[in-house]
Symmetry: C2
């Protein structure tokens, strides 16, 4: 019903943060693109004040860059950017793996296993979109499984920054099957609750993903390999 809706109504700027973030992530606002305040205010039907507050927050998350008197731009995705974000995400996922193996209960692990199986099915069908979604869910569930709100928040922020890169790269079949194998081992280690090893694997898994992204970026620099 509407009562709780009204009570939980977030402030305008919070809502704008989410909606702007979504626009950046789904590539409606493109990297490097200038953000016209007036235009967005028009689109959202709000005044500049809450919109500008939202931009400040997005800037502190690294999703947009602000230049005094020169407005806001969507942060560009460069190889250098990825080279800085991926290792940090990898470190966070290592921690997530260590903690999740300790803290997830059997039911939660079973749920992750189920999503893992769906991911495998998507892989067999060559369904990249379903694969990506299941993959995100699994990593997300492992991070949440660590039961550490700070870890979750940091991970989410950084994951958002690189999620946009999926619009730019088309991973090779070879890397894809390699990733699948890594995920199979991750599930084994999770069931066995070998947290230290799971963390280690999740870290290298993420760094392998990074390497694949770099390769795809270099190849795709000329060839247009946009997917999804």
């Amino acid at each position: 019903m509407a009562l709780t809706e009204i009570l939980n109504r977030p402030t305008l700027h919070e809502e704008l943060v989410e909606r702007l973030r979504a626009l950046v992530v789904d590539d409606t606002l493109k990297p490097g693109e200038k953000i016209a305040e007036a235009q967005l205010c028009e689109a959202f039907g709000v005044s500049r004040t809450p919109l500008r507050e939202a931009l400040k927050v997005l800037a502190s998350e690294g999703l947009v860059v602000l230049q005094a008197n020169r407005g806001a731009r969507v942060t560009e995705i460069t190889a250098e950017e990825l080279a800085e974000v991926f290792p940090v995400i990898a470190a966070l996922e290592q921690l997530a793996g260590e903690l999740a193996a300790e803290r997830l209960d059997d039911a939660a692990i079973a749920a992750i296993q189920a999503r893992h199986d769906e991911m495998i099915a998507a892989f067999r069908k060559g369904d990249r979109k379903s694969y990506f979604e299941a993959n995100q869910d699994i990593h997300g569930a492992l991070v949440e499984g660590a039961a550490n709100a700070v870890l979750s928040a940091q991970h989410r922020t950084l994951a958002t920054r690189i999620r946009r890169a999926r619009f730019m790269v088309n991973l090779s079949e070879a890397r894809w099957s390699e990733a699948i194998e890594e995920h199979e081992r991750m599930m084994e280690l999770l069931h066995a609750r070998r947290g230290s090893e799971l963390g280690q694997l999740m870290k290298t898994h993420m760094m392998n993903k990074f390497a694949a992204h770099l390769r795809a970026l270099e190849e795709g620099a000329s060839a247009d390999s946009v997917i999804s």
Copy 2:
């Protein structure tokens, strides 16, 4: 001279972010304290708009909490909070250690060694203040040595959140000398450029620090053991 000053003049809200952060870190604004906008505006001589923008950023960093229509409060430091932040910082420092051992040149390592020696001297004299400062510098230098801006930024944000805890706890002599030993080993591993081991040690060093904080918090709950 003033020319570059003027050119680099930050926007008001950026300056306010820094100054408010300083107030929170040095405990002028106390945990749980309500932040009166009008009062701060008066103190800084600015209008509410840039101040509120700054509060939004500080909230996204986790330093203050905002409640719709109910203003801002300084985030409380609880054992739960520390239990979430420390493991993440530890993971980041592990990464920092790995990278710093690879990337720091000999001169930079020598500079860290010098600061380390000063820290030892402060320890011998029982000068806690100098010790803490040198300690911060060393950890900061190692993080910077990783040459990863994202890592630096995340670390700085989280370090800020727990730095306030130093006002609350007085570490035991036993833990202090243990920490010194860990730092000695860190320097050895850094000189030997054994990044993996350095990272591992920095992680456990940080978790040991956390455990000491927890013990001090429990003891200090009744006894007033505020230092510095």
